[in-house]
């Protein structure tokens, strides 16, 4: 190599410095987030001092309620019930939505057949289907999973269509002149090219699943976080509502984090940047 010694020395000193800078930025971000959350808790506590706990329970009331719900097992049961519904509906949405979106993006005729339905139902919220879901599928798990599936599948399909259409023409031509048939091109070039769009779709769909599970459980469920929030009304336990809301937020955040870590770890080569 014809690199000058001073340039090499420079590179050696700047690399750790850059790493240190990145670590500092991360630390700074975490510190600000913690301070912001603590500040919010303090404001909440102060506000709740002069307000009836039925109207605004204090953070400590909420914490006590959380402990109470955790000890009698309600909390764990609710979390498991809701997560199971979210997980199945969301997974089903991906399982159906990803291939459907890829086929729609790739084959014009399939796109033309399904497009009117996608463009129509995309604007009808899942809540509008709750009654129908219960009539058709009963009050059990099926209706809730179906609603979450409904809430996820369109966003994934729309994302995948965009992903397929963003595949570089150059890459398709390269595959064709390297001997790939249209079907092989679809499997070996189009599908890997759309992985970043799968991740974006899955993340958006995760958000939709959380929105939907609460509505579904409020209308027809004995367990789950939505049910917990709703039954709190019957006992005048506003702090349970707060517990439910906070747990939902934390669960959503955690699921998204896990998804991003998974994508970053295993799908790095597909240019996934989340």
């Amino acid at each position: 190599m014809n690199q000058s010694p001073s340039a090499a020395a420079n590179a050696a000193t700047t690399a750790p410095r850059a790493a240190k800078g990145a670590r500092f930025a991360e630390f700074r971000q975490a510190a600000i987030a913690i301070v912001a959350v603590l500040g919010g808790l303090i404001i909440w506590q102060v506000l709740s001092l002069n307000i009836s706990p039925l109207f605004l329970p204090s953070p400590s009331d909420t914490w006590a309620a959380a402990i109470e719900l955790a000890e009698d097992g309600t909390l764990a049961k609710s979390v498991v019930a809701s997560l199971a519904r979210i997980g199945s509906g969301w997974a089903l949405g991906i399982l159906i939505g990803v291939p459907l979106g890829i086929l729609m993006g790739h084959f014009r005729i399939i796109r033309e057949i399904f497009e009117p339905y996608i463009e129509f139902f995309r604007f009808v919220p899942p809540i509008a289907f709750i009654t129908l879901a219960v009539i058709w599928l009963g009050p059990g798990e099926e209706s809730k999973v179906a609603l979450i599936f409904y809430a996820t599948v369109f966003i994934i399909v729309v994302n995948m269509i965009a992903g397929v259409q963003a595949v570089s023409e150059l890459r398709l031509r390269a595959a064709a002149s390297l001997g790939a048939s249209p079907l092989r091109t679809l499997l070996t070039v189009v599908v890997p090219s759309t992985v970043p769009f799968m991740i974006t779709g899955a993340r958006l769909a995760m958000g939709n699943s959380f929105l939907t599970v609460v509505s579904a459980e409020i209308v027809a469920a004995q367990d789950g976080l939505g049910a917990l929030i709703w039954t709190a009304r019957n006992y005048g336990r506003t702090e349970w509502v707060f517990v439910g809301i906070i747990i939902l937020g934390l669960l959503g955040y955690t699921c998204d984090r896990l998804l991003r870590i998974f994508a970053r770890t295993f799908l790095k080569r597909y240019s996934v940047t989340v």
Partner: protein
């Protein structure tokens, strides 16, 4: 490696969205010949190359190795100007293996072939790198290796070194010259760079300004390889080609000037 195949165009015309891009082109390229296509920007060089690759339909007759072209095929390898044509989720080795994998060559054999061609283009040390981790020149060499491993009888190159700096380009030109003499494939090479054409080609085809571009002139370059741009013979040809292209470029400018006046 199979020797190159001939390329024959008879009255070839190409229309894109109703516009005639090139018209009535007839030419013959011999098996194993290195030909450069030279012409003003926008005249239709890429279009003509894409037609030979089988990416776009043509009027007239277009034959490679005596057979009519119907679509893309592994007998014609394409090196694109833009290295986006590489598969970014595959390593260098996997990119080169792609063709043999599609053809169903077994794993150890295709690995071996891929390694061989990566070494031939000087990427033996970078086989596990992803395209994003390679420099521009390395990516173009990777594209070349990916094409060579299929042992095509024709290699089509669209300004493959256009985005490289002058030094890297010169290295690449010499490597391509060496590879071509080793493989004896037929090469059609599109370029803007007259010096590059003289360094590489047996014959240079210049094109007229579009629309409905045609072949303007054919210049044979009978200099020994490896060539030197400062050779008196090379300088004479350079001048000839420059005047030729210059005429077409000023035609373009005149057309544009005319359009501005009427607008």
């Amino acid at each position: 490696m199979p020797a190159g195949a001939s390329i024959d165009l008879e009255g070839v015309g190409i229309q894109i969205s109703g516009q005639k891009i090139v018209s009535d082109i007839s030419l013959s390229i011999a098996a194993g010949e290195f030909v450069c296509l030279l012409g003003p920007s926008g005249c239709g060089k890429s279009t003509l190359l894409n037609a030979i690759a089988g990416f776009i339909p043509v009027e007239g007759r277009l034959r490679v190795g005596g057979r009519e072209i119907r679509g893309p095929g592994i007998d014609r390898g394409v090196v694109f100007q833009n290295s986006d044509a590489l598969f970014p989720w595959l390593t260098a080795l996997e990119n080169v293996e792609y063709g043999p994998r599609i053809r169903g060559v077994d794993k150890t054999e295709r690995r071996k072939a891929a390694r061989h061609y990566l070494e031939l283009v000087g990427l033996g040390h970078a086989i596990d790198k992803f395209p994003a981790e390679l420099s521009g020149g390395m990516r173009q060499r990777l594209q070349i290796a990916r094409v060579l491993v299929n042992e095509p009888s024709v290699i089509l190159m669209d300004e493959p070194f256009g985005a490289l700096d002058a030094q890297t380009r010169e290295v690449m030109q010499h490597e391509l010259d060496r590879i071509w003499r080793a493989t004896r494939s037929t090469i059609v090479f599109v370029t803007h760079d007259i010096g590059e054409a003289i360094l590489l080609a047996d014959r240079v085809f210049t094109m007229t300004t579009g629309p409905a571009a045609r072949i303007k002139a054919i210049v044979s370059i009978d200099l020994p390889h490896p060539r030197d741009e400062t050779d008196p013979g090379a300088i004479a040809i350079h001048r000839e080609l420059r005047d030729d292209i210059g005429e077409e470029v000023s035609k373009v400018l005149r057309q544009q000037g005319l359009r501005e006046k009427t607008a």
